[in-house]
């Protein structure tokens, strides 16, 4: 348990509707520095929406989000500078197809952190070596496998030195045999102390890596606890039902 560290992200009564569809129904939650939080729940329960609200890819309808003490839902806050500190990994990878792997990784550090090209490339190459993809530095995304693409997407986000990494079903678009290589990169990241919020259906990852598991149901957090509490002795019948349905 690392959850006694300082609060990194805090949401207060977060609501989100798309027109008449109410998706988030008041989420108040704290994510602590160094914590690995896995978000689970049935399809449509609002997991992605919650995650995407955290870096304002979705604008909450109501409520507040504090990131490193700053209210990022305040219209006066410059969200771009805060997003630099929040890496995000998508289900569909979203690599830039017209750029090489290296360019994908160095674009943001060079434009936003004003890093020199050599420095950005050196950092990128170091990260690529760590995930075993150094020799693909000059490849284009279309030449990579899904697992390779997702590993690149992860290190692309890491190039910005984020304080937290958000993952939205990072392995759901992968062939089963490619899931492992991505999860192992994520495990290493967790071991290095990165704060992570991971929406996933990989229960083994939740059990082995998470400090805390959050179960979402109908736009609220129905239950949250350590993997042990959640998997062996869930209190909420909905949690029990959900876990039974997928295990």
């Amino acid at each position: 348990m690392k959850s006694n560290g300082e609060v990194l992200i805090k949401t207060e009564k977060l609501y989100k509707s798309f027109g008449d569809i109410r998706v988030l129904e008041g989420i108040s939650e704290e994510i602590h520095k160094g914590e690995v939080v896995v978000v689970i729940g049935p399809s449509g329960s609002g997991k992605s929406t919650f995650l995407r609200c955290l870096n304002l890819l979705e604008m909450p309808t109501d409520g507040k989000i504090y990131f490193e003490g700053v209210d990022i839902t305040d219209p006066k806050t410059n969200i771009n500078s805060h997003r630099q500190k929040m890496g995000m990994v998508f289900q569909q990878f979203n690599l830039f197809p017209h750029m090489t792997v290296l360019k994908n990784m160095t674009l943001a550090p060079m434009k936003l952190l004003k890093m020199k090209k050599e420095d950005a490339e050196k950092k990128a190459m170091d990260l690529l070596r760590k995930v075993g993809l150094a020799e693909r530095a000059n490849a284009y995304p279309s030449q990579l496998s899904g697992g390779q693409k997702q590993r690149i997407a992860i290190v692309r986000a890491l190039c910005m030195n984020p304080d937290v990494m958000l993952f939205d079903e990072p392995t759901s678009a992968l062939d089963p045999e490619l899931v492992g290589e991505v999860l192992s990169v994520m495990k290493n990241l967790a071991a290095e102390g990165m704060t992570m919020i991971v929406v996933t259906h990989e229960m083994s990852f939740a059990r082995d890596v998470a400090d805390r598991v959050i179960f979402m149901y109908d736009g609220v957090i129905a239950e949250s606890g350590t993997p042990d509490e959640m998997f062996t002795n869930p209190k909420n019948p909905r949690t029990r039902q959900f876990l039974q349905s997928i295990l």
Partner: protein, 244 residues
């Protein structure tokens, strides 16, 4: 047979050699290319601006409306102007636009070339705008989100991530639009410009022998268009291999 040939030769001399009439065609080709070339540049410029305004407005309307403020109203206003521009240009024939420009808006101008270039450029801009806007819309939203999630602002995301992909995707369509524009300049004669079509027509009026000058005009257009198509194919293949 021999008679047919000598007849053909006489026709040829009458239409192209006498009084250096071939010059009408050569000068016409040059004028046509010049108008089309500058109109294309103007069209891409106008089209890019309009496309970016329109899609920026569509994409950010929600956030901007939330903040209200001067910028939002300015944007709504400019966006409305763009829509009117597109409706008018795409809803009226280019010849009519050309004549309105020449005889009404720039009635005092003696520079027909400039007015025609403007008219065709403004016309082409509307079509380019819609091509580009379609191109922007066709880019997966995940590309925007990936850019924004890295901390790039809207403009940076457009410049580094979206626009390069859009141009790559719509280049074939854009080149077709340019070929269409080149052919559309054939109505320039309406405002007294001696373009290729007008050149051929002038010869016809002088010699009363329509066959040769008009076929020559058609062949010249065809040659230019085939040349452009060939170049377009080359560029396209080049772009495609750069990703491999």
């Amino acid at each position: 047979m021999a008679e047919w040939f000598s007849n053909l030769k006489a026709q040829f001399i009458l239409n192209f050699i006498d009084d250096n009439r071939w010059k009408l065609l050569v000068n016409g080709v040059l004028l046509t290319i010049r108008i089309a070339f500058f109109a294309v540049i103007l069209g891409v410029l106008i089209g890019s601006i309009v496309a970016i305004i329109r899609s920026t407005y569509d994409k950010n309307q929600e956030t901007m409306a939330r903040r209200k403020g001067f910028l939002y109203y300015l944007f709504s206003f400019v966006n409305a102007i763009c829509k009117v521009y597109l409706a008018i240009i795409r809803g009226t024939p280019v010849v009519v636009q050309l004549m309105i420009m020449y005889f009404i808006i720039f009635a005092s101008s003696k520079n027909g070339m400039l007015v025609a270039t403007l008219a065709f450029g403004i016309n082409s801009g509307a079509y380019v705008a819609e091509i580009l806007r379609g191109g922007i819309l066709s880019i997966d939203n995940g590309q925007f989100e990936a850019g924004r999630s890295l901390g790039l602002n809207y403009v940076q995301t457009m410049i580094y991530i979206i626009i390069p992909q859009v141009f790559k995707n719509v280049l074939p369509t854009l080149l077709n639009e340019f070929i269409a524009l080149l052919k559309e300049t054939s109505v320039s004669g309406y405002v007294g410009i001696k373009d290729l079509t007008k050149g051929g027509d002038t010869i016809r009026g002088l010699t009363f022998a329509p066959f040769m000058p008009l076929i020559a005009v058609a062949l010249l257009y065809l040659m230019i268009v085939l040349l452009l198509t060939w170049a377009a194919g080359k560029v396209e293949r080049r772009l495609r291999t750069s990703e491999k």
